[in-house]
Symmetry: D3
Subunit: 249 residues, 6 copies
């Protein structure tokens, strides 16, 4: 399942069997006192493994650097530009296509990457119309989250190092969570944050957007269960679509 | 020592103490039947850890995708362009500089990355003259290798999946080597390969450039010992240079 | 209020008084049988005028070409790339800054432009930190829309040539609407449309995403009233922020 | 005739009939005390309409932002770079080609755009050899102008907010001219202005290059009459050329 | 006078004395049967030497490759893009500035380079405001030419391998002209050639635009005499401007 | 043999016969007190002529500007970026291909150009697979040099204005060498120079890396003899390869 562990003599046959490459992509980013900088990478990587088990895919090495504009001034954050990210993802997609994959699926653990992933997918779509490029950032999460959370959300799109993301970590990567250091910090985000570039240090000192102390493994499991089903469903749809299309040739 | 495992609340102080960030960079590339596609990543990562222990540095997450032009048509290889690599490395350097690091050291496990690393270092040098950017590809290796190897080299610069690289793996990452599948394949490389773009499938079917069966952990240890000393020596020189320079202000 | 109608001899003084430039931006895009291709431009332009009256701003000439990826294959649609749009918007922002404006506010009538607007705003933020760059796509619309609409939404983000957008037109630009040709067409959008590049011809023949026959001027007025208040509020906040900041110098 | 006012259901058929898209392009630029900043846009747009009536073309929405290097420091001027302009024009040309147009004709009201228009036309020529791309900046104007003007020209290429351009406005857009404020200002332009970058503030305070008080509607009509005939003649030649070429296939 | 022949130990002092660097730039381009492909390079180089003698400048090595769009399909023509040319010229200007030159003067022998030279000059102007960048393409030539030529011009801007250019060669580089092979070929250039990309093979088989048999050394001398005076005058003006400006510091 | 001296009427036939274009490329760079700034250009050009005589090729005009990062701060050096160089070389290769050449061979006299030449060759290889692109920087030189030199080398890769390069000049371009001013200056190059951007002024004041007084014409001849044979051999191999390949069609 781990692509990088394969050897060159046998991998060609396996590619033709699996057809699906999953790229975990996250970021190195401040996540408060209780979560490591690599939180988004860990989540992307472990969710990718769950997906791969369900659909029979290869998991590629995690691309550990993402677009971290909003939090780039917090200690430990590392950011790359949208342009750099798009270019590298397009290169990867092209290589995977040349290697014989028919589905390139990016499992994203960091919201800031979303623009780059979609842009890369569209560029690949134009160049390689028979390569299916997918991008996932916790699809279908919002409904299950609203039924789970015990505190109101700071923002209608953002969740970060909070009740929810910490729960995801407690389910997917608990050995990296230090719940004794979890804090509750619910910032007031100004309305203008959706209308003008707003580094997060303007409204939070901790980069925690909620009450991390309320996180539980169970909450994380509920969210991941829904998200995983959604990802698998889309991949299966796309795979069948490809199969059908091919049999029509 | 592992940067990504730190948390945002404590990492700032540690950056100001360590001052050195080491980026392992390799590639996903065909390495014959006995070595995994991630060989260059494993070597870069483990060598980085040895360096970090000696100089007291942070090791960043490995950038696992490199420029694999020559072997890109072999099964399992994934390549990104020089431009994509340079842009991302420059972004990383800029972020590390903004985070307070004064030395950004790239430990490279894949020859094909060398051009991009040097170009990125020069661009960063122009923009951030007080950030020291280093790039290492087994410095000082050639002399010790020539004293060790039992078979002549296929090429004066290239070594790949052969007696030497397999020895490096046996020393640094033995659990990833399958010596029972190691082969001897010494191709004749045409003179023109240094003067015109020459994909390696033109002169090898295996991507092995030598006799991998002669690899030993001891050979690997000898090479790494020299290389490690050289890297540490350069970093120490540069670090003292910075310190001296600063005290002169 | 209309910047382009000013003359060079008097405009300098007026810029220093108004301080705010509003750029309407839309697209040329298929909008069904009852709405013109320029629908998004008309909405952006007329909403901009309402905003300008409230805050005392200049309205710039409408940038009439936008990023129309999803509908670009429908008759009449014209698209420009994100890169082209970002570059031109950054140029405009730089010029406005050099002309003495302190707030550059983009009023967007086309969802597909959102990525480019945000990216341009961030680039301008890095280069000209004392220029406030704003981007608006019907802020606060979702709540009022859900209380108004009589038919369920085809998608949680998209609305297009439907009950809602047609209502906006009936309020802001009724002379361009031909309600006799309004249709009801509620497509089923596949789950994968949020995870892979999906031109809309894959799920609709009309480009109408809902029941346009239910559109009324009153619905449009309710939405615009909320949106207008939100835009004005953000601009006023930002303007006061700037003023305060300056008095601190 | 106005493309943007069409709707998606009927426009396809009309495109296949008309075949010609005309893009007016001008600039926002200082034009003295008696002409508005949008002078070049108004001229381009109204001339485009005259052309469209003669040849049966669609007129696209005016691209109102141009390359205004020389006058960019005058109050009210807004400039975009050649690169931004070329990229957007190439995108537009590509879209028009995909929509089924066979002739893309740019009617330019601002000399500073000429380089970008020609460069864009050449790029489109290379990519879409069967799309005819035209660019016009008052073709054949120089002869008629020299027979009309009562004052010598400040420069052999430039004319700006002067006897000539004001006359064009009096003919094409008289409601935007305030002749009571027209001035006479004939600067001496140094020889070096053709050999080194020379912002116009180095030789004029008004941006008026001549005697605007001598402008008349009749002079404007004479110029436009010649120019219009020339444009129509070229379009007709090109259109017939296409037809002939196609019948030869 | 020849910069490239200097050595590093003495050149610094000489740069501080001369202050002016002249770059000849031409092209490799078809010039009929009687002139070599390097005609534009020879003219630029020899005219540069005459200028350098008059103003006391260094002449740089000729940049022998230019933008040859119109004639690129003729045998022997070599073209580079505007982008490539602009980038290299900007690099050269930056280097000359860093070396201590205050005037960078491009003497151009090929009309097709004009756009790139002006664009490069503007970019350098923005970055290095105290570097004077000049570009010359036979300044003031049109008047003297119209008094000299015995045959009407094929075009109001173009002259190529004709009575005029051949005369320039007979004066500046006679050893490269084979008058026995000179021809007369006066093509009719369609009006559309100024309005749409038009490779010259559409209207000429020889690339000669006139009657080369009428060329004489005397005609060439008259043109060059005027052009040379004009170039020297502009350089002197600019040099004095710089000197005055500096004494004001 | 000199391409630029040909005329357009006859060159097409000659291109089809010769098939090989040789581009000399060097740099303007400090070479101590005894060698001119154009040393690398002279060497590239004269070596190119020797090669052309042996293989029957055209020699193109020398591209006299190269990437001179390391020595760019020395008096007289002029540098262009890798990007500019790569773009221009790719343009040249494309033009040569369109003109009918099948082999484009770059003879390089300046080590700093090597990265750009290889990158350009790879880009051309991808676009024009049936154009053979070659790049040579004194192939096979190292062995013969080590048998000739009387003083140890300052560096395992660099040689500059020293015993060796001066010898090359004494053989290929003796009229440009002033042996009376030749000096001996053997700098100690720090180990870090291979691991971090290191302008040469950090370790040398003269830019001479060795004992230039030991240079002789005989040494130069020995090196050039070997290098010339190697270049000719590769070109012949490639030429035969092309021929063979073609007969297989």
């Amino acid at each position: 399942m781990k692509f990088a562990a394969e050897n060159s003599f046998e991998v060609k046959q396996k590619i033709s069997e699996k057809q699906i490459a999953i790229l975990p992509i996250g970021a190195i980013e401040a996540h408060g006192p209780h979560l490591p900088l690599e939180t988004d990478n860990l989540l992307a990587e472990r969710l990718s493994i769950l997906v791969a088990k369900r659909v029979g895919a290869f998991v590629l090495p995690t691309l550990p650097y993402g677009q971290v504009w909003s939090l780039k001034n917090f200690p430990g954050s590392i950011t790359v530009s949208n342009e750099s990210l798009v270019n590298m993802l397009v290169d990867l997609g092209e290589s995977l296509y040349n290697q014989g994959f028919s589905i390139f699926s990016m499992v994203n653990g960091h919201l800031g990457n979303s623009v780059a992933l979609k842009e890369a997918a569209r560029k690949l779509y134009e160049r390689y119309p028979d390569l299916q490029v997918l991008y996932f950032f916790y699809p279908g999460m919002s409904e299950v989250v609203s039924s789970i959370r015990e505190t109101p959300s700071s923002h209608n799109t953002y969740f970060h190092a909070c009740e929810i993301e910490t729960s995801l970590m407690l389910y997917l990567a608990p050995e990296y969570v230090d719940m004794e250091r979890a804090i509750c910090d619910i910032p007031v985000i100004p309305l203008s944050a959706d209308a003008t570039p707003t580094p997060w240090e303007e409204f939070t000192d901790t980069a925690v957007l909620g009450d991390a102390t309320l996180a539980t493994k169970e909450k994380g499991e509920k969210v991941i269960s829904v998200v995983l089903d959604n990802i698998v469903q889309v991949i299966e749809e796309v795979r069948r679509g490809v199969a059908t299309y091919k049999s029509n040739d």
